[in-house]
Amino acid sequence: MSTTLFQIAPRIPDLNIAPIPEGERKGLTKKEIAADHPTWCPGCGDFSVLALYFKLIEKRKIHHEKVTTIAGIGCSSRFPYFVQAHGAHFIHGRALPFASGVSLSRPDLHVFAFSGDGDAFSIGGNHFSHTARKNIKMTLVVMDNWVYGLTKKQTSPTSPIGFKSKTDQWGAKDRPINPMKQAISAGATFVARTTHTNPNHVLQMMEAAMDHDGFSFVECLSECIEFYEGSFDASNPRKGGKFELVPETHDVTDEFAAYKLASEDFPGKFGIFYKDNRPTKNAGEAQIVADMRAKTQGMKDWQILQKSFERMR
């Protein structure tokens, strides 16, 4: 019987690169992490999210090949091009399942997904719920600007009632979703809120999210200077607003308290709303594999297949 038509091509030529011992590797500089110059409008909130992502990589001495940056489509989702590391720019709304494929097959990587409010909660709403409930290990940062930026000012699922967009000339009529509530009720195990105008806080939230073993979600208010200027002034002390942290007395493991916190009127509170140490999907799958592998221990793949076929004679 014929086997296969094609032999596997050798993957890459041997380039004989002297391996650099891990211990001698220095952390990356900002210059080494930055790739293309961002195409965002000057003043766009997304710049600070990017800058703080660089800071995080710098601070935690993460190497190029250890981090993967994944996004869907939107202004915010152009993110991967600006990061000098492995990255993928996928399709609108589907960054999470793509990132899940990376996360579930590669436990050795830090997986970060960046998304916009439309990308994450409208076209990708279904994936948001399911990735959260499955608790697939990764960090999702949604750069929420309450508008569709890339397509030039249509109503987004987080646009407040009354917002005049090109698709709601008389003001948005639909009740906006509340990302915090959405995440908590979907079963996300790390739910935090921050804003681009407070860099230290953004870094703090991203770092805590990265260290969380599970699906960690950070909503980062990120102003669209072009189509929704002033949207977040009420949360910016420099514009006369107030930035208030989640009270220290808040119990992050209390789902109802978190939900209540999320119900506050804008600008609300900033910080970690909810955190739970539920086992991840990654761990669940690894356990199944370990249990099954125990039964096939010492066998080569072809022997396992042969054994299965014995039952089909």
Binding site: I8, G87, A88, F98, F309, M312
Partner: protein, 608 residues
Amino acid sequence: MSDSVIAPKATSGQPQASRISEAVIRIAGNSQDGIQAIGGFLARLAGRSEQEVMTFMTIPSTISGGPSIFQVRIGSGEVLSPGDEADVLLAFYQHSYDEHVTSLKKGGIVLYDSDHVEPNPEREPNYRHLGIPISSRTVEAIGGTGKDKGKNIFALGLVAKMFDLNIPKLEKLVTERFTGKDQSITQNALNAFHAGYSFQLDSAWATFHFIEGQKQGSTQVVMNGNEALGFGLIAAGVRFGAGYPITPWSDIMELLRRELPKYGGSFIQCEDEIASISMALGASYAGRVAVTGSSGPGISLKTEALGWGIMAEMPLIIVDVQRGGPSTGMPTNVEQSDLNIACFGGHGDSPRVVVAPSNVEDCFYTAIEAVNIARKYSVPVIILSDQAIATRIEAFEQPDFEKVVQDISPDFSPVAEHKPYDLSAPDGVTRHLAPGTRIASGKYPVVTGLEHDELGHPTGSPKLHQDMTEKRRKKLQALGAELPVPKVFGPPEGQILLVGWGSTQGPIKEAVERARAAGEAMSSLHLKYINPLPQDLEKIFAGFRHVFVVEMNDGGLYGHGQLAMVLRGRYADPKIRGINKTDGLNWKVREVLEKARALAAGLDAGKA
């Protein structure tokens, strides 16, 4: 080979076992009666006896069961199709009898449960009727509780008697089937089997004995196309997959979910088909060529992400187990109407690879080949299976496991520099490096759905879009040049060439055999590589007066089915014409022959 093998015998007092080379047995009842189980036992037994076997079944689309059939054709020679007509019908109910008695060959035997079936006096002269109180005898043998569960096994005993089947082998199969269950269940099954086997025959019974099979010495395995495809993917080295349930694709995902962890892999059930293909693409990107799949509506949902896979040049396997469409269509019926979406579905110029297995064994090897094409050309490959091949059981020679099982685990060796979309690469083939790979130049790639430069960064350059579009197409032209040219079945010249693809190979070949036996100059050509096509087909077509493309899809607005349109577009040859149908059933050999003869006769008359 295809003549009526079980002609009615004049009863000469003593029943004599006549030697036969093949038989078609149709079992009709309700799906909850374990009809599939009897068929499965027979198919498996044939496999263990070095006989060829092919089955088909209908499954009711409702979950609560309902009328269902299982047809098995066992032969000592080559078996190409499940058979147009049956030699023996086993009918459990009145509706089974009424519906299926005419599927028998003239003079065929109908074995019916006389507790439920009242034969039709009009039919009696045409078929040999044998009534057996199957239900009450089963109750007698194993008690009332086993009535519904045991009568299939009782009937298996009857068939075993009638065809002089190997009893120890059947007992072993029955025992194996119930291992892990309560000992009393196995005992009950064996009791029912023996009760059927020892049912007192009257002298009117004809019994038969199969001539020894020819495939001496080789070990046969017996399974359906979905199983063969699933195991083929495992053999190919696929260790990650994602999917969403839909008939008839679900079996493959269930198999992979169960089996992959044994090999250190994983299959994830997603929230929908879009998530499934996205997750599979994520895993492919991460270095593990992954599989997703679906049927009908689920394939439509995957097209946007498929386009990304083509643009980003990501290896990926997409299994499409075709069923009747469009929309929810005919979920448990067969159709070959996804060729267009497989070859062309999606926006933009988006060349991808499409291959179609032609029998159950081919499902196994096609899966391996698809994976290797996907890797070699860094491209999504669609495997076009269908409901018929997915559910039918065939026996085939056990693979050489050590030889075919591949290790395709990712390689993270560092490289000096890397350009994923290198325009100067031979044949324009992209090589991706999975995350985790160090690149000494410090320049890392982005994989993307935007038109891009050689590093994967977005570009609006008209020249680059043109060059990259060409690159994505050229590599498939290179693949096309490498594909083996298919062989003509029958002489390379003649009146009619039947062209088929996918699961219809068997009935088309059998039609050609029958036509040639009748002195007609007919041959056939079966295409496995649908996109790109192999080279030199025009040279093959040149040898025939007519080229008829036999497909289970609609003749379309212009009178040609989906493959016929592609071939006409490719070869601009007006003698390429379509023979099509959309009744949701497999081609019968007779149907193919009649349509081909009629079409040729009409054309020849017009020309004369």
